[in-house]
């Protein structure tokens, strides 16, 4: 370690002894009088609370897909240790996924101005000269590369996916999951290195006095070891209050035009720039859809009178027509559809057969899992595995009707699964086979 350190230092000395390049590498180039540890720390503090909330809601969403049930649910077969925390995703409270994922997506959008402001506040550090001073500093710069690269990667892929702009290379699920670990690891390194400096900087100025100080009273902070405070500050044209206020206003506006798709009701109309900002139709089946029957290749003859539900379990498979299913004891449940994209519907009134009753019918009342298959031609989400606790919840249904009417084609006619707190895409539509396993 000492040898590496010495070699890096020698290398740094050689670069440092060369003349400092012009432009942003010169310390006199950066002149904003409000740049300094305090302002950076204010944005940093917001992210210090925001990013962990993003991470926790994100890994919860990953757990909600029940990747532990096998490759049908899991596109990250190589996750290894990164799946250490996985647990049986619960079915109560039934609005759990609606809350965690609505929070994840809305907060992610709202934090965009804060993230950009934080990067603006430290941009002189990108051009520090010499670029490498010691081995420890080289490691820190590497961690910053992962922090900035991983952070922007996560925000960009997340926002693109929410807006159904699938241009990224590969499955969103895989990219966003592994990218999150790169980002959070670099975030932990960064916090451990900078936390002390942040708290000192925050204590150095009084927030309430700052919020009362206009442009005319704005003075630069005293010179700092990190070189954030300019050596030759220009006259102030914006107060710190102004900078924080503008970033706050940007976040507030993004909150207003986004949150409605998760909160619903009248607020749905305020989600001016959200992809799911109004109900696509009227009547019992008029609520949100992500994939229509036509878009995934469901033709009327696949779900016509010849359609049958197969229930497999311990004995011979049971084959039932829709009429036979409707004649069985039906139950109701009021449950929302909540999507990984953050949007959700209000509670819909579903009516159908309990998965628990179907498990009993299959001869495996204590089934540990069920494979749900759709008539949908094979695609990444045409089948799903559900866990025992999801089968046994009395509100987990194979729904035949919704809001007092038969399911529409786009909502999964003749039969679909609806399970409390289950991510939307795992509530498989157009079901034709249930295979219960012990």
């Amino acid at each position: 370690m000492a040898a590496v350190s010495a070699r890096v230092s020698a290398f740094a000395e050689r670069i440092g002894s060369a003349a400092t390049p012009p432009g942003p590498f010169r310390s006199g180039f950066w002149r904003s009088p409000i740049r300094g540890p305090w302002l950076t720390s204010v944005f940093g503090l917001v992210l210090l609370f925001g990013i962990p909330v993003m991470f926790v809601t994100g890994v919860l969403s990953y757990a909600a897909y029940n990747p532990g049930l096998g490759p049908i649910n899991d596109q990250t077969a190589d996750k290894g240790l990164l799946g250490f925390y996985l647990f049986d995703w619960p079915t109560r409270p039934y609005w759990l996924y609606r809350l965690t994922q609505g929070l994840h997506v809305t907060l992610g959008v709202v934090l965009v101005p804060v993230l950009l402001a934080k990067l603006w506040s430290v941009i002189p550090k990108l051009f520090q000269w010499p670029p490498l001073r010691s081995a420890a500093q080289a490691l820190e710069r590497l961690s910053l590369l992962l922090l900035v690269g991983g952070g922007i990667f996560e925000f960009v892929t997340g926002i693109f996916n929410v807006q159904l702009f699938y241009v990224f290379p590969g499955s969103f699920y895989t990219l966003h999951f592994y990218g999150a670990w790169v980002f959070i690891a670099a975030f932990v390194v960064h916090v451990s290195l900078r936390f002390g400096r942040m708290t000192r900087a925050l204590r150095s100025r009084n927030l309430f006095r700052e919020l009362r100080t206009g442009v005319s009273g704005t003075r630069p902070e005293p010179p700092d070891a990190d070189g954030l405070v300019p050596v030759a500050p220009a006259a102030p044209t914006m107060s710190r209050r102004g900078a924080v206020g503008m970033v706050g206003a940007g976040s507030l506006l993004l909150l207003v035009v986004t949150a409605g798709q998760s909160i619903g009701g009248r607020l749905r109309g305020t989600a001016l720039l959200a992809p799911h900002d109004r109900d696509p139709g009227h009547g019992p089946n008029g609520f949100q859809i992500n994939k229509t029957a036509a878009s995934v290749g469901i033709t009327p003859n696949l779900v016509g009178p010849a359609w049958r539900l197969e229930v497999h379990g311990s004995g011979r498979p049971v084959v039932l027509s829709r009429e036979q299913l409707l004649a069985m004891p039906r139950h109701t449940a009021a449950l929302p559809i909540a999507c990984v994209e953050g949007w959700s519907t209000a509670d819909q009134h579903w009516e159908g057969l309990r998965l628990a009753d179907l498990a009993a019918l299959s001869g495996l009342p204590a089934a540990g899992s069920v494979l749900v298959e759709s008539v949908q031609p094979s695609g990444p989400y045409s089948s799903v595995m559900l866990r025992g606790n999801q089968i046994r919840d009395p509100r987990a249904l194979l729904a035949l009707r919704v809001n007092g009417a038969d399911l529409s084609m786009d909502h999964g006619y003749p039969a679909r699964v609806i399970v409390p707190a289950n991510p939307g895409v795992n509530n498989t539509k157009w079901v034709h086979r249930l295979t219960f396993r012990t």
């Binding site: 702009f165 592994y178 044209t237 503008m246 992809p275 878009s295």
Partner: protein, 133 residues
């Protein structure tokens, strides 16, 4: 000395963990695509967004433009950045339930709202000042 050791340990542990994440990312089918996107994220910010913002900022300050105009640009810029995918997306959405609105129109409506609020800020300030007198 102790902080030095802690730093090395957390730094090394964090980098190892980040390395695991990065290594797994490389397992994705389109390896060059992933590298371009990870590196591109840094390039996008450091080479495009940051210089553009700094340039506009410096032109505005030299032109004597400040206060609410800069606020409006900053807020409108953040909004535009987030809305870019729905604005630029070519073609029609797969079904009437997703992306159902006229997004360019909504984007313009929101920008007009930002402009109106920004224009009101100095008026409200002036009224507040004259009341205090």
């Amino acid at each position: 000395m102790r902080t030095g050791v802690t730093r090395w340990l957390t730094g090394a542990a964090g980098l190892v963990l980040a390395g695991v994440g990065a290594y797994r990312l490389l397992g994705v089918d389109d390896l060059t695509g992933v590298l371009i996107w990870l590196g591109g994220a840094v390039v996008l910010h450091d080479v495009l967004i940051a210089p553009l913002v700094l340039l506009i900022g410096s032109v505005l300050v030299r032109g004597g433009v400040r206060g609410p105009v800069r606020g409006a640009l900053l807020v409108g810029g953040a909004l535009t950045a987030v809305a870019l995918p729905v604005l630029l997306r070519p073609g029609k959405p797969a079904n009437p339930s997703v992306l159902p609105l006229d997004y360019p129109r909504n984007w313009l409506v929101t920008l007009v709202a930002v402009a109106v609020v920004s224009a009101l800020v100095p008026v409200v300030r002036r009224i507040g000042r004259s009341r205090r007198r």
